[in-house]
């Protein structure tokens, strides 16, 4: 526990806000009182300091956006915070199918295996900074992740999607094969 006595009034004020303690100005007469209140709140673990969770979250966010910045370099030279968001989602679509994207967006805070697996790998790329070496290993990396991603919850089961896909392909084939044409289509019917 950081020594509260060494903190500036502003820091005390911020800490009070974190614990949701309503307070007035931190001056000579009130400081002692607020320090005591803070110690009580810390002992109780009131609200578990939500800001610390936020920083943790932000760190992950920073890491991921930093990681995904490398592929964009090959395409565009621009960079920006909100831009990274859309880029990341686009990269998601590139790796997996739509189903994995929906599951990803729903379980975003959990960062399913793929991101965590990608992160240590991506750390090398900023130093090497070549899009080629980046492009190669990712297909290999994404494959073992695909079965992992499949385990995540889906609205429609994967096998059912495959069935639909095959049914649709068969239907289209039938339609195509029964088309009437003047000249015979070779190699198909």
């Amino acid at each position: 526990m950081a020594s509260l006595d060494n903190k500036s009034p502003q820091e005390i004020s911020d800490l009070l806000d974190e614990y949701g303690i309503k307070h007035g100005p931190v001056v000579g007469t009130t400081r002692n009182l607020y320090v005591k209140k803070l110690k009580e709140a810390m002992a109780k673990g009131k609200k578990a300091k939500p800001s610390s969770d936020k920083t943790y979250y932000r760190e992950e966010e920073e890491e991921v956006t930093y990681v995904y910045k490398t592929p964009t370099k090959s395409e565009t030279s621009g960079d920006g915070g909100p831009y990274m968001r859309s880029r990341r989602e686009w990269a998601e679509g590139e790796y997996g199918h739509d189903t994995s994207y929906s599951s990803y967006s729903s379980s975003r805070p959990e960062y399913r295996g793929r991101d965590l697996v990608n992160e240590p790998y991506m750390y090398d790329t900023p130093s090497t900074y070549s899009s080629n070496s980046y492009a190669k290993p990712t297909p290999m990396k994404s494959e073992p992740e695909k079965p992992k991603a499949q385990k995540s919850s889906r609205l429609i089961p994967l096998w059912l999607q495959f069935v639909f896909f095959l049914a649709l392909a068969a239907f289209l084939y039938l339609v195509f094969s029964n088309m009437e044409t003047n000249e015979p289509i070779q190699g198909i019917v």
């Binding site: 309503k22 307070h23 007035g24 100005p25 007469t29 009130t30 009182l33 005591k36 209140k37």
Partner: protein, 90 residues
Amino acid sequence: MSTTSQKHRNFVSEPMADKPVTALAGIGDRLGHSLMEQGYDKAYVVLGQFLLLRKDTELFCYWLKDVTAANSKQADDCAQCLKEWCDAFL
């Protein structure tokens, strides 16, 4: 509805002017002496502290019990007294 003491009613009925701290409800001789030692010799100084704590009675009780040997009832009486005074005159 809690009954208020005569002291409370007296204090809340008019501007406090230069009334001593012992004029506050809940503050007797012992507590008054303790407060005066710390520089809170007049009621308005204690009012100042009350206002610094944003007129929050809970915080004020906490503070008063911290700087003096006040018990919960005394602190509560004092806080209520100040709060009503503020509602009327501030």
